[in-house]
């Protein structure tokens, strides 16, 4: 077979780098973003930008080592967050950010590995990876933008969609019971579990700093408005109205058992830190059980 591909020539390096920095630096937080990546893809009123800002503020306040901090995401609207950050960033396949991050972290334990992804990505297609990474206590931080639906694909129902909630695939109202992510994370073994809404920017920032610094599997759930899909179909108003409802309905608590923190379509949202315990990480245990024993001097049989 004779193959004649249509011509495709790469631009010269000089042209690729040219103009990349245009406008970069106009905002003080630009130094945490990759050049040439803004504007972002998110809708106006979307909470993902707030979450990204909370992360960037955490980098600033927490003085993260940008050389050693790596962000991994899956696929979805929030999955694009990784690509904006001026760090080593990986945008993987749908649901697979956690095992990818596990490989990164275990191959180089000096890295601070953070996963930022969506509720569909992490808890439907990637649900199995979530519970196992939490069980193993792999030392990574997980930040979930929970907007109660699949934003990227146009607003279908998913594992966090509240009962009765309307989505493009639950046109009569969702008839499935959703996950309560706080409860799931605790039960799976996470050492730190917090939930905030996009309104709680300072708390989100501080929970992210705490998680990155804390050894073990840490989970931060951020309730995020998706006015375009979930908000619109459930008459929750625009982004601002959704933020107002977070203000009116959030209940800060440390008392509640994670089991009692489920979220409905309307009504109260329990926020706060629900778990903060210490437990040896995967690597601590692996070093102790595998590496040390594999390299221990052999005992002689006689004695």
């Amino acid at each position: 077979m004779k193959i004649r591909f249509i011509d495709a020539e790469a631009p010269p390096a000089s042209r690729i780098l040219e103009n990349l920095a245009a406008g970069h630096g106009d905002h003080p937080l630009d130094r945490y973003l990759k050049k040439g990546r803004i504007p972002h893809i998110w809708c106006s009123g979307c909470g993902n930008g707030i979450l990204l800002t909370a992360f960037v503020k955490a980098m600033e306040k927490g003085n993260f080592d940008t050389k050693k901090t790596v962000v991994v995401s899956g696929i979805g609207c929030i999955g694009r967050a990784a690509g904006y950050l001026d760090l080593d960033t990986y945008h993987t396949t749908h649901g697979r950010a956690i095992p990818f991050a596990t490989g990164l972290k275990l191959a180089n334990p000096k890295l601070n590995v953070v996963v930022i992804s969506g509720d569909g990505d992490l808890f439907a297609i990637g649900g199995n990876h979530f519970i196992h990474a939490a069980r193993r206590n792999v030392d990574i931080t997980l930040i979930c933008s929970n907007n109660f639906n699949y934003g990227m694909t146009g607003g279908q129902g998913g594992p966090t969609t509240p009962l009765e909630s309307k989505t493009t695939t639950t046109p009569y109202g969702c008839s499935e019971h959703p996950f309560n992510l706080v409860y799931l994370a605790k039960a799976s073994g996470a050492v730190y579990v917090a939930r905030w809404t996009a309104l709680h920017t300072h708390e989100l920032r501080d929970s992210i700093i705490h998680s990155v610094n804390k050894p073990g599997f840490c989970f931060v759930e951020a309730i995020t408005p998706c006015p375009t899909a979930h908000g619109r179909r459930n008459k929750l108003g625009d982004g601002l109205s959704m933020m107002k409802s977070y203000r009116d309905n959030s209940v800060l608590t440390t008392e509640l058992d994670p089991e009692d923190t489920a979220i409905g379509l309307k009504g109260k949202i329990a926020v706060g830190e629900f778990v903060n315990i210490d437990k040896p990480t995967f690597m601590d245990m692996y070093d102790e059980c595998a590496i040390c024993r594999a390299n221990a001097p052999k005992k002689s049989k006689k004695s």
Binding site: I6, A8, K68, H91, T102, A107, K110
Partner: protein, 385 residues
């Protein structure tokens, strides 16, 4: 010299164990896998060996996760591998495509068993050859190697790592249950005699580095996480900076290069073992465990005066197109007899490359055992008549 990673000396070991030792000798420091017959022994051996050199063995929750984990580990700079068999290989397809798209070196071992589905967990098949070539969606090229003995499983696993590092691509060691489970003498050479390769690293400073810039050989240097390059890697179609670029131009530039970087080097990658091709009129083409029976048949037929030759495929992909086409074009070459344990996979390639100039005959069956020399001899005799 023997070292913790390289167990120099003569051993009696299975193909699966030899494969693990090959990984160790190649410098593998990360293994993620999920148990599955007949590949479990690769993982078991790695769980003993990797902690001895400070490497990481992890049993993941499934093969999807295993594949994702080795890609992540490779992005952090490790030489990483996984092993599986048919059902797990199916699950790995998604992220094999990711490794091809992000250009992340890694090694996937598939000890083939009979399929489809759960099929024959403990018995042989060679039915994953086309899945290996085309299994993940979209256009990409793969490299796949097929050992015929434990010794070769050792050597080709090292080769698989070297090729994956050189071309920044996933490489499959496509073995089979018989080679995986047979135990033979394996000689592990002095560690100094083992050639290992590592990926090209960026020479430019981070501010001038273009992660997917087009290089002469179409293989860009790879920046490792944690080195300050702040690269972005994505499974989306991306531009030279690695940024998502959902347009036809970027798709053309990227995917053509991914294909070119293997196709333009195919002649360097392809390896076969040829016998009696100088005067052969009938040429047997085989690989893996089937090649062992085929060789015996060719030698017997030759002794009885038949003008028969043999090509043993060491690389299955890229396929040795040129060799088959050139042989088929010769007046004297009448037939190719392809011996493989499937309903025809490499046979289609041979037929395609022969281009109607020589006939292709498939000697195949559905698996569960190897060819007996007698039944294969019958096929060859019929071909000669």
């Amino acid at each position: 010299m023997s070292s913790k990673a390289v167990r120099t000396g003569a051993h009696f070991m299975s193909g699966d164990e030899a494969c693990a030792e090959g990984g160790m000798a190649a410098g593998c420091s990360f293994f993620a896998g999920y148990p599955i017959t007949p590949a479990t022994e690769v993982a078991e051996r790695m769980s003993i060996r990797l902690p001895q050199v400070g490497g990481v063995y992890i049993q993941m929750e499934d093969e999807i996760a295993s594949m994702a984990a080795i890609i992540g580990a490779s992005c952090a700079g490790a030489k990483a591998m996984t092993s599986t068999s048919g059902p797990g290989f199916s699950l790995m397809m998604e992220n094999i495509g990711l490794a091809a798209m992000m250009e992340v070196p890694c090694v996937v071992v598939n000890i083939q068993r009979g399929g489809p589905s759960t099929g024959l967990p403990t018995l042989v098949g060679q039915q994953d050859v086309m899945q290996c070539r085309w299994g993940s969606h979209g256009d990409y090229e793969v490299i796949a190697l097929s050992p015929e003995s434990p010794q070769e499983a050792f050597e080709l696993t090292i080769e698989a790592f070297n090729l994956s590092e050189k071309y920044r691509t996933p490489v499959v060691l496509l073995s089979d249950e018989v080679v995986g489970h047979m135990t033979e003498k394996v000689i592990i050479p002095d560690s100094k005699k083992i050639k290992t390769l590592s990926r090209k690293l960026p020479k430019k400073k981070p501010e001038n580095f273009i992660p997917y810039a087009h290089e002469e050989d179409d293989v860009p240097p790879m920046a490792i996480a944690g080195e300050g390059y702040h690269v972005h890697a994505t499974g989306l179609t991306h531009d030279e900076l690695g940024y998502p670029a959902i347009n036809a131009d970027a798709q053309e530039r990227l995917v053509q290069r991914l294909i070119r970087k293997i196709r333009n080097h195919a002649e360097e990658i392809i390896r076969t073992e040829d016998a009696f091709l100088d005067d052969a009129e009938i040429i047997v083409v085989s690989y893996g465990c089937s090649a062992r029976a085929a060789r015996e048949v060719v030698e017997t037929a030759r002794a009885s005066g038949m003008k028969i030759g043999m090509i043993r495929l060491i690389t299955l992909w890229p396929f040795c197109e040129k060799k088959i086409a050139e042989l088929a074009a010769l007046e004297r070459v009448k037939k190719f007899v392809v011996c493989e344990i499937n309903a025809g996979q490499i046979a289609y390639e041979v037929e395609r490359c022969a281009g109607g100039k020589a006939e292709t005959i498939l000697a195949g069956f559905m698996g569960g055992r190897i060819f007996t020399p007698e039944e294969l001899y019958r096929v060859v005799r019929e071909a000669a008549e």
